[in-house]
């Protein structure tokens, strides 16, 4: 029974991954039906809300931008085996740093924009640097420190928007004064801001870094085997500091995009948990930068659809539930994928043997 498999390999991969996504939707449907909703209608509404009109698509892409940037940051850290689950806090730190510049300095646009980007990246990097330093010099586990720092960053926003940055016209609403027009990100199409370009450049750079530079080789080695990295003389501590900072910088950029590209001020709850969703995005994308971009768009669509169906009385939590199911089933489908790959390789081996006889 030696012979070529009926489908090209990439199609099988797409089919299995797609199947996992479908299965997640099916389980979600059962849940919807069980709670007295019409799953078909809910999904149709979600679909329309996420992709059914130019406006919906625009909104989905806008939400995908922070997921892309934080997802890339998380994927980078995970590749080196650094469990950075603080992208949320790093995003907020980036937003805070950028807001400080936007609200306190009056600069021309050409200086302001690069300033916002640099400062935002630096803010995220600095926030990630704290756990990196704690890890390398004191041995504190980064999972705990990055998680804790999320809450500190979020509370810091509260402090600022109720304090010196408060909008005097907003009474006690939790948001800051609006940014001056010089501090608004330019838009590409509709309301889609240049953060999208930043995210695509970041994916390009990250993919190149990991596969085509010796620093990338070093990062992958440290992630795969610490003893081997030490044996090869790689400087592990230095890399922990650098990679955490780079990871935080990417999340920080996401924060700048939100304040300068979307809401044009800083406020409580600037992120509906992008930094946490990023962890799922990174895993589902198997830490591959281009896959992160794709998965971020899909997850943003889910998120956006979830917002929309709230108006129909369906809890938006269904969107989060489906995201979790997707993660779960994609990880499970890896097993299936491995078996398919093995079968393919086996049939090729056997075919080759038959020819050799």
């Amino acid at each position: 029974m030696a012979g070529a498999a009926p489908f090209p390999e990439w199609l099988e991969v797409v089919a299995i991954r797609g199947g996992a996504g479908m299965a997640a939707l099916a389980v979600g449907a059962i849940f919807l039906a069980a709670t007295g909703h019409d799953p078909w209608r809910a999904y149709r509404e979600m679909m329309i809300g996420a992709l059914g009109s130019p406006f919906a698509i625009e909104q989905t892409i806008i939400k995908a931008i922070p997921l892309m940037l934080t997802g890339l940051g998380v994927a980078l850290a995970f590749t080196m085996g650094l469990w950075n689950i603080g992208a949320e806090g790093q995003l907020v730190a980036g937003a805070l740093a950028a807001s400080w510049l936007a609200l306190t300095a009056s600069l021309p646009t050409l200086v302001m924009l690069p300033g916002l980007i640099l400062l935002g990246a630096a803010g995220g990097a600095a926030w990630a640097f704290i756990p990196a330093v704690l890890k390398t010099f004191v041995g504190v586990n980064e999972i705990i420190s990055t998680l804790m720092l999320n809450y500190i960053a979020l509370l810091w926003v509260d402090y600022m928007v109720f304090g010196s940055w408060a909008d005097p016209t907003a009474f006690s609403f939790p948001y800051s004064r609006p940014f001056p027009p010089q501090a608004h990100f330019p838009v590409l199409l509709g309301d889609i801001h240049i953060g999208l370009v930043l995210a695509l450049i970041a994916a390009l750079l990250l993919a190149g870094l990991l596969q085509r530079t010796h620093w990338g080789y070093e990062i992958r080695t440290i992630g795969a085997s610490l003893p081997a990295a030490r044996y090869a003389g790689m400087r592990v501590r230095r890399n922990v500091l650098l990679v955490m900072a780079a990871s935080g910088a990417l999340a920080g950029l996401a924060g700048v995009g939100e304040v300068s590209g979307v809401i044009h001020r800083i406020q409580q709850g600037i992120s509906p948990g992008y930094g946490f969703t990023a962890i799922i995005v990174a895993w589902v994308a198997r830490l591959n930068p281009w896959a992160v971009i794709l998965v971020a768009v899909l997850f943003a669509a889910l998120l956006n659809g979830g917002f929309v169906i709230q108006t129909a009385g369906v809890p938006a939590a269904i969107a989060y539930m489906i995201q979790a199911l997707v993660l779960f089933l994609v990880l499970a489908s890896e097993h299936l994928l491995r078996r398919v790959r093995r079968r393919r390789a086996l049939s090729q081996t056997r075919a080759a043997l038959q020819v050799g006889r």
Partner: protein, 505 residues
């Protein structure tokens, strides 16, 4: 020894197993009888571990049947196999570090449903340990145990589950000579209870000492059977299909000193000094063998020289310059190569491909990298050079090295380290797990390398190996060098005595 003809415990028929790119088992028939020690011999990659993993329910054969007492059985998991009475001790242990010995032995076994009755189980484990002479403390935690003790735990685990066919895959590769003796006593006791023991080893004298029957595999097929009375030469020939020439050793006049340690103190992992005041001198073109029972400071000594461990005292010079403050990388650049004992954990990255592993040392320097850019073409070329020069058998350069057989992993590691003709090579157990031919190949490579001027520090547990290739032999005991002798002026017995610390100093 005459054996009354009895029915086999297990019969394997026509077993075929393919992996991507290789046929590991190409139709194997094997019968296993009660009350025998059956040794499997064969080159690296011959398919021994694969066949045993099939019998232990870990892999499912593509074709073929397994019969237990005449009944055809499908083994879907190791659990199925153990219920049929087959237990396997793997080359890599499968124990939970943070649990105790007794807990590990109980883990996953059906008896205790919810609450582990640890006290009575511990007593049971202790009884078994006494009965077979496999001493180990049931209350100790796995991480506290030496590799030899861990292996005893694995064996006890299988005995606790009442295995009637016990598979030991290269059990002696990691044991000291004393531990091997202890293991053999246990194996004989198990055999005398009308159980069967399947024994895999590359060491022919061990096989001849313990086996009742020897089956030889080559390229996935059974190519012969033999009795333990066969000569090692005949066995070796059966394994590889031709005679294996012994590497001839020539003694050159020693060259200038290239590596010198004086009064070296090095801490071990657990704190206390593992190396105490070691002084030694290594000359250009010489092979200095270090004999000693494992765990007497050999690893720490080599790691300190390689730059992976900072000495607590003493001095270290290389080509007459002090290297104590240099990093691993600096030392490698100056020509200090190191083949660590832990092949897959340290010397190679299991998840990386052959290509990626080939450049682990020089990934950031020309020609592999120019500036920041990693050159895949150059990396592949280097991998190809190593694969061709050192006969690494691999389906392609894209295979993860964890899928290579142990011997091929070692060839890749060895090739990478010596490709650049280092000034000094530190080699720790470079032939562990290698088949007879690969072992002779490594011996020849070592000898050729030294003839070309490389100074070699060779740590080995095999006296045969040390006597075959070394110019001088040092013995290490409890962190100290207790004697250095030219190979021509020392006997096995003398070295043996020094190794146990009972030296007539």
């Amino acid at each position: 020894m005459s054996r009354t003809v009895s029915d086999p415990l297990v019969r394997l028929q026509g077993i075929v197993k393919t992996f991507p790119g290789v046929v590991a088992n190409a139709g194997i028939d094997l019968a296993i009888f009660p009350g025998e020690v059956l040794a499997l011999l064969g080159e690296n990659g011959a398919g021994k571990s694969t066949l045993m993993s099939i019998l232990a329910g870990l892999y499912r054969p593509d074709e073929g049947t397994i019969l237990f007492g005449g009944e055809r059985v499908e083994l879907r998991s190791p659990r199925d196999a153990i219920h049929r009475g087959v237990g396997m001790v793997h080359q890599h242990f499968r124990l939970v570090d943070s649990l105790t010995v007794a807990e590990n032995i109980l883990l996953g076994w059906r008896e205790p449903r919810f609450l582990l009755d640890l006290r009575s189980s511990a007593a049971h484990v202790r009884r078994l340990a006494d009965q077979y002479g496999l001493e180990v403390d049931p209350a100790a935690r796995i991480w506290q145990l030496s590799v030899g003790e861990r292996q005893r735990v694995e064996i006890l685990k299988m005995l606790y589950r009442n295995a009637r066919v016990l598979i030991l895959d290269e059990p002696t590769a990691i044991l000291t000579p004393q531990e091997v003796e202890q293991l053999f006593r246990a194996v004989r006791r198990i055999r005398n209870e009308e159980r069967a023991v399947l024994f895999i080893s590359h060491k022919l004298d061990e096989v001849r000492a313990i086996a009742d029957r020897i089956v030889v595999l080559r390229a996935g097929r059974v190519v012969g059977q033999s009795s333990p009375q066969a000569s090692p030469r005949d066995l070796a020939q059966m394994m590889v299909g031709h005679d294996i020439p012994v590497a001839p050793k020539r003694h050159l006049p020693p060259g200038a000193p290239v590596l010198e340690a004086r009064g070296l103190d090095v801490h071990g992992d657990r704190g206390p000094l593992a190396v105490r005041g070691v002084s030694l001198q290594l000359r250009r073109g010489e092979i200095l063998g270090i004999a000693g029972v494992a765990g007497n400071g050999q690893r720490e000594l080599l790691e300190a020289i390689a730059g992976l461990r900072f000495p607590a005292g003493g001095s270290l010079s290389f080509n007459a310059t002090d290297i104590a403050s240099l990093t691993v990388r600096d030392r490698w650049v100056r020509g200090l190569a190191y083949i660590p004992e832990d092949r897959l954990g340290q010397g190679l990255v299991g998840a990386f491909t052959v290509t990626e592993n080939a450049v682990l040392r020089d990934y950031d320097r020309p020609p592999i990298s120019r500036g920041a850019i990693f050159n895949w073409t150059a990396a592949r070329e280097k991998a190809e050079t190593i694969v061709n020069a050192f006969h690494v058998h691999s389906a392609s350069l894209q295979v993860s090295v964890r899928h290579l057989s142990g011997g091929n992993q070692q060839r890749l590691l060895f090739g990478r380290e010596v490709l650049t003709a280092p000034v000094v090579l530190l080699a720790m157990h470079p032939t562990r797990g290698l088949d007879v031919e690969a072992t002779t190949t490594v011996h020849r490579l070592l000898i050729d390398l030294s003839a070309a001027g490389t100074a070699i520090l060779l740590v080995s547990e095999s006296l045969d190996e040390l006597l075959a290739v070394s110019d001088r032999i040092a013995v290490m005991h409890r962190g100290r060098i207790v004697g250095v002798h030219p190979t021509t002026e020392v006997s096995r017995a003398e070295i043996g005595l020094l190794m146990t610390g009972s030296a007539p100093s």
